[in-house]
Structure formats: structure tokens, C-alpha cells
């Protein structure tokens, strides 16, 4: 159905016909659905579709059924702008995206300029996974809302945990050479220096993004430095190959990561046989003692055979519904006004809120480790038999960071 809808939506507006009457609330999902990013993009799409079904089963939002419109951006900022324009022509007024901060930046910029140049036809942009801090700082926008803790917030949570872990003495930083990797290392160095000045940063490495096929020389350097802990933002094959090389060389350290749970991550960890030595900082894991989120996890695994990687998508959809209810309308400007400042009970327990100053969502952050399970961890990952075990919960208030955002509001 969706493919025909998109084909029609592409063809009809060519003739300049008015957008079809709004019987549904359309949410444009702009992420890679082909090419190298597609495996992650498909996961996100199915998650949102699952959530849309959940909302529609309860009667939709303000009586309108929610429809997810998939738009393939091929992980390319220019393509994302084209798809956004297509979506707007097809009557979409809510866009959501997550894969790639470069795309997010372009989208946020586009939405801001579009809304400025087309008053009355405003569009909102919900960011569910792009973590570059600049999107809620220097380049913030009233029309952009972010549900993922940005990389600085995650580092704040992580360093608060590390503050209370005296066993950590020598830390090695290894990251990908691009904006995300840069922000991870800068934040790590600054925050560790402030909270644990006794910790020595014994290495600070930036390697080219997705180009290294053999991390053995890097592992050799880590070994030579005498580190007991490695902090890395690596994801995808950079993560998998790093762990592989570490396992080959017999390196015994603890790994603190952002994206160990990403597609292929748990498999790599199991293959490298690093039992409860790889930690992840994130906003939730399936093995939390919280009945309603575990029910959700079971349902989504039954339908789609993957574990819920985006608890923040759940928060996003539920808050959209709540904001529309509060504003009694699905008009984006009113929904935006209702969304900012909103406090909710987060998907897996605890209080969260959307900060008005910069449209950044704050929520409890969890540190977890992957390894063999006990009865308290009913869910495993990627059929490896190993699952995430809760190590620490950082309360919302301990994750808050100031912002430099000077938001321009519509009047």
C-alpha cells in the first residue's frame, strides 16, 4: 500500500493538485531504506509502524489515524531535502529522522527556512537519533525536537558513573574522525578532567570513518599504553572490527561505548567473547524490571524479530499524541507549543521532560553490560544468548547540561 501511495503522491502533485484532505495524520519517516544504511533504516521504520498501529488501535490522534510515510534519503542530505519537499507536497506536516547528524542538520535548517518562508504551512521535525549536540545548541530551532540524549548528555551520564567507579585509572579514547567522534572525545576529556582529575587519559585516537579494515595496530597501541578502560563512540563495522582485533590480540580491558547495541554489535561482542566487559550508555534496555516495557518488547520481537533499539521512538510517538490531546489539534504550531516543557512518564520508567529552552528531551540514562544472563535478564540479543544487564541508572536530574541555544520563537 505504501509504495502505491508514494507513487501516487509523487505523480499527482506534479499537476499541482491540492493536497488530499487530511483524513490521516501523516508522519514522514526520512531515513535510508536502501544502500548501506538500510539495515538500520528498516529497523526504525518498522518500529514507527508498530507504534502507529498501537496508537491507531486506541483510536488514533484526535480521531485521525496515524500513517507513517517512508521516504528513502539514501543517507544523503540533499536527497533528504528532496524527500522532505515531496512529503510536504503530499500533505505531510510531521517529519521524523534519526540516522546521521549531517542529514539532521540539513533537515533542521530546511524546516526552519521553509516555515519562515511559508507561514501557515508549518512543518515540525522530530529527531529521534541524531546526537550532534549542536542541533540543540548553536543551531537550535523552534521547529526541531530531539528525543535522543545528545552525545554530551550521554557522556555526562557516563562520566557521572565513572566518577563513582574507583577501579578506573587509565582511560584510552578511540573514536571515528568526524563530528560525532570529535564531540565524544572532547566531552570525555573535559568532563573526566572536572570529575575525576586522577584519571589519566593515556591515549586519544581518531581513526578514519568506516575505512579501517584491520584495527590490530590500534589495539597494539592500546596495549602499549597500559589502559584499563577504553571509551569509544564507534559503531557499525568500526565497532565490530575493533572488538575482533581486541579479541585476537587478547586485550583485556573494559569497553564503554555508545552503540554496542547497534545492529551487529552484540554478535561481535559474543564472537570476541567479552563477557560483561562491554558497556553501553543508553536510554533503556529490554531487561529492566518494568512490566509494561517488557510487554512491549515481547510484542515487537514477536512481530518483527528484532529487539527494540529505539525506546525513544516510543516516547516520541506517545508525546506527540499527548501534545495533540493537550492542544486539541494536530496543527503543528499548536502541537509544538504543547510539546515544549511537557513532562511525561518515560517508556521504561522514570520521569522525563522536553526542555523548553532548546527542545532537548531529558530522561533517565542507563549503563548496561552485555554478557551471560540470569533469570533477571529474560531477553537476549541477536540470538547470541547474551543479554544486557543493568549496571547503573543515572537519574534524569544528573544528566542535565546547560545549553547555548538562543531560540527564535514564532509570535
Amino acid at each position: 500500500m505504501r509504495k502505491f501511495m508514494m507513487a501516487a503522491a509523487f505523480a499527482l502533485p506534479m499537476l499541482g493538485g491540492a493536497a488530499m484532505a487530511q483524513e490521516t495524520l501523516k508522519i514522514g519517516y526520512i531515513d535510508p531504506l536502501s544502500g548501506s544504511g538500510a539495515s538500520i533504516g528498516e529497523v526504525g521504520l518498522k518500529t514507527f509502524q508498530f507504534l502507529a498501529d498501537e496508537v491507531n488501535a486506541k483510536g488514533g490522534i484526535q480521531g485521525k489515524k496515524v500513517e507513517i510515510v517512508p521516504l528513502d534519503n539514501k543517507t544523503n542530505p540533499q536527497e533528504s531535502l528532496i524527500q522532505a519537499q515531496k512529503a510536504i507536497d503530499a500533505g505531510v506536516r510531521y517529519l521524523t529522522q534519526g540516522n546521521g547528524s549531517s542529514v539532521a542538520g540539513a533537515l533542521s535548517d530546511f524546516v526552519t527556512k521553509y516555515n519562515e518562508r511559508n507561514p501557515g504551512k508549518e512543518v515540525l521535525y522530530f529527531n529521534y537519533a541524531a546526537v550532534d549536540p549542536v542541533l540543540t545548541n548553536a543551531k537550535c530551532s523552534f521547529w526541531h525536537f530531539r528525543w535522543d540524549a545528545n552525545s554530551d548528555i550521554k557522556m555526562e551520564a557516563l562520566t557521572n558513573y565513572m566518577k563513582a567507579t574507583p577501579a578506573i585509572k587509565n582511560v584510552y579514547l578511540i573514536n571515528q574522525d568526524y563530528s560525532f567522534g570529535e564531540s565524544v572525545r572532547t566531552a570525555a576529556k573535559a568532563m573526566l578532567a572536572a570529575k575525576r582529575p586522577d584519571i589519566k587519559i593515556v591515549g586519544d585516537e581518531l581513526h578514519p570513518l568506516l575505512k579501517i579494515t584491520d584495527f590490530a595496530p590500534y589495539i597494539a597501541k592500546i596495549k602499549a599504553s597500559g589502559a584499563d578502560t577504553v571509551v569509544t563512540g564507534n559503531w557499525g563495522q568500526d565497532f565490530a572490527l575493533l572488538l575482533k582485533a581486541a579479541a585476537d590480540a587478547g586485550l583485556k580491558v573494559n569497553w564503554y561505548t555508545y552503540y554496542a547495541g547497534g545492529t551487529g554489535g552484540p554478535t561481535a561482542i559474543k564472537q570476541a567473547n567479552l563477557n560483561h566487559q562491554v558497556f553501553q550508555v543508553g536510554e533503556g534496555i529490554p531487561n529492566l524490571d518494568h512490566p509494561s516495557s517488557q510487554e512491549f518488547e515481547k510484542a515487537i520481537r514477536a512481530k518483527y524479530d528484532f529487539s527494540l533499539f529505539y525506546p525513544r521512538a516510543v516516547n516520541e510517538m506517545r508525546m506527540l499524541a499527548a501534545a495533540a490531546d493537550k492542544a486539541k489539534s494536530i496543527d503543528p504550531v499548536k502541537v509544538a507549543a504543547a510539546l515544549e516543557g511537557m513532562e511525561v512518564e518515560v517508556f521504561d520508567g522514570g520521569k522525563g521532560y522536553m526542555r523548553k529552552d532548546d527542545h532537548q528531551f531529558f530522561q533517565p540514562i542507563y549503563i548496561s553490560s552485555l554478557g551471560d544472563r540470569t533469570e533477571r535478564e529474560p531477553f537476549d540479543e541477536e540470538k547470541t544468548g547474551w543479554g544486557w544487564r543493568l549496571v547503573a541508572k543515572i537519574d534524569t536530574s544528573a544528566t542535565v547540561l546547560p545549553t547555548t541555544c538562543k531560540m527564535e520563537r514564532p509570535n
Binding site: S39, P217, A240, A249
Partner: protein, 315 residues
């Protein structure tokens, strides 16, 4: 420091041998048929995926044997039904054909095996540390990779120098037209050479698959480096390809482990320049520019010594 050098040398030689397995086929194909096979790295990828699938069903050792044969057969088919038809339209058309082929192979692999990495394991019989140098374990599987590469290199040398078909191939490397004039079935030789060349690339794929990540972007990552090797080594020269493979393998591995930068050597720039492009160049480390070093080499060789290091022909 010494540990780093030894490990890097071992890894560099290993990577170089892997490159040579692929570059040997590519050089021979380029020299004989005149076509730079853009899809060569795709056969490397096919070898890895076939190896993965067959090892899932039958085990690693059958995979090592069957996957290259399969890939070689596909290569021969491509030559017979595709390249030969395009040949009459010129070199540009041949290049474009292999370019499109590389694209399509990557798509087909993505459709069948997905876009993520597949779980190609090292066979348990080889999954142990071979020796411990200083404090790092060197895996036995990597020694196995080295041995296989050397064995194939030796085998290739013997075939080329001692067998009749090898002599013909050697001749065709430097004087392709003459070989045709002499009455050999050039079409059959071309098909054979293409098939064997791609089979060699597939062997490299099967043995590299468990060590590196087996994913549908493998070809795109290794492809450009392969061209650099072939061009730097020189046309019509297998020893050139060997030297270039080792050179590039070592350079890449060593560059990655060096953290030197201009700022490290000469001290930081004054803060006035902090946000200009000069600051970027000043503080970039050798490790960060390691991936582009082969291309610098490529451009320099093409400008100053277009026949490559040991090449015997220019076109």
C-alpha cells in the same frame, strides 16, 4: 615501540599478500585484455560470501575449494558473454561495463545476504594464538592466510614459468597482439585468464572473510586500493604487482599506527590561525591521512613514471 613495529610489519606483509592475490589477477587481465576490471573487487566479495554460505552448509575447507571455482566460473561467463561483446565498442565501453557490473553484483549480494555483516567464523581448527610476540597474541589464522597467499604465489610463478600456457600468458602480457597472430586461441585464453584471475580474487575473499568483516560494502572499500596497486606496480609486470602490493600494504599499516603530525613536530600554531584551514593541515596526524596515501602515490606515479615501478608497457 619494537612490538608495534614487528606487529605492524607482520600485519603489513599479510595485508600486502592479500592485495597481491587480488592484484595478480587484475594485472594479468589488464595486461592481456586491456580492460581494467572494475568488478575485480566484487569477485573478491563474491568469494567471501560464497565461502560464508558454503561453510555454513559444508564447512570451511570445502568452501575454500568450491567458492573460488564458482566465482571463477562466473568470471569466465562474464568474459565470454559480456566483455567480448562490448570489446568492439572500445576501451571506454569495456570500463563502463565492468563499472556497471560491480554495481549490480553489490546490489545482488545485498539482496541475498542483506546489508549488514554476516557471521563468517574462523574455523575452530585454526582459532588459536600461533605465538606470542612481546605481549600480544598473533592469531594462527593470520599465519594460515599468509601461508595460503605464499603458496598461491609460488604456484602462480611455477605455472607461469614452467608450463606452456604460462609461457603464452607471459607473452600475451607484453605482446598481446602478437600472440593472436601466432595462432593461439586467444578467445579461449582470455576466458581462462579472466576466470583464473577472478578465482584468485575469490580465494582472497574466502580467506579474508573471517578475519575482516564480511559485508556488502567490502568491494567498495578495497576496490580503489587495488587499482592503485596495479597502476603503481606497472602494466605487464607481475613482480611489479607483488612489490606494489607489499609496499602499499606496509605503508597503510604503518601509517595508521603513527601519530606524528606537523604540530607534534614543530609545536602548535599561534591561536590566530586556530580556525583556518592552516590549522587543519597543521594538526592532522599521519594516521588520519593514511587512507589517502595510496592515492597520492597513484597520482605521483601516473605523472612521473606512467609505466609504473616495474612496468614494461605504457598502455
Amino acid at each position: 615501540m619494537l612490538e608495534l613495529i614487528v606487529i605492524s610489519t607482520l600485519n603489513g606483509v599479510l595485508f600486502g599478500m592479500l592485495l597481491f592475490l587480488m592484484a595478480s589477477g587484475l594485472t594479468v587481465i589488464f595486461s592481456m585484455l586491456g580492460v581494467l576490471n572494475f568488478a575485480h573487487a566484487s569477485f573478491y566479495m563474491l568469494g567471501a560470501f560464497f565461502g560464508f554460505q558454503i561453510s555454513r552448509w559444508f564447512g570451511f575447507w570445502p568452501a575454500l575449494l568450491v567458492a573460488p571455482l564458482l566465482a571463477g566460473a562466473i568470471g569466465a561467463g562474464v568474459e565470454r558473454y559480456g566483455l567480448r561483446r562490448v570489446h568492439k565498442n572500445g576501451h571506454v565501453a569495456e570500463l563502463l561495463f565492468t563499472f556497471g557490473l560491480a554495481f549490480v553484483i553489490e546490489e545482488v549480494v545485498q539482496i541475498i545476504w542483506g546489508k549488514g555483516p554476516v557471521d563468517f567464523r574462523i574455523p575452530p581448527s585454526l582459532d588459536f594464538p600461533a605465538f606470542t610476540i612481546f605481549s600480544t597474541n598473533y592469531p594462527a589464522y593470520k599465519m594460515f592466510m599468509l601461508l595460503v597467499s605464499i603458496a598461491i604465489f609460488v604456484g602462480l610463478l611455477i605455472v607461469l614459468k614452467r608450463t606452456r600456457i604460462g609461457l603464452i600468458v607471459q607473452a600475451a602480457l607484453t605482446h598481446p597482439h602478437m600472440v593472436g597472430h601466432l595462432g593461439h586461441n586467444v578467445g579461449r585464453i582470455f576466458m581462462l585468464v579472466f576466470g583464473v584471475g577472478t578465482a584468485l580474487a575469490a580465494v582472497a575473499g574466502v580467506i579474508a572473510g573471517p578475519a575482516l568483516v564480511t559485508q556488502s560494502n567490502m568491494a567498495g572499500l578495497l576496490g580503489p586500493i587495488l587499482f592503485v596497486v596495479v597502476v603503481v606496480g606497472g602494466l605487464g609486470s607481475l613482480p611489479g604487482a607483488f612489490v606494489a602490493s607489499l609496499l602499499i600494504g606496509l605503508v597503510q599499516t604503518f601509517a595508521v599506527s603513527m601519530n606524528g603530525s606537523l604540530s607534534g613536530a614543530f609545536g602548535p600554531l599561534s591561536p590566530d590561525y586556530a580556525s583556518t584551514w592552516l590549522a587543519d593541515i597543521w594538526s592532522v596526524t599521519i594516521a588520519q591521512i593514511a587512507p589517502i596515501v595510496p592515492y597520492v602515490l597513484l597520482v605521483l606515479i601516473l605523472i612521473f613514471r606512467p609505466m609504473g615501478l616495474l612496468g614494461t608497457r605504457e598502455t
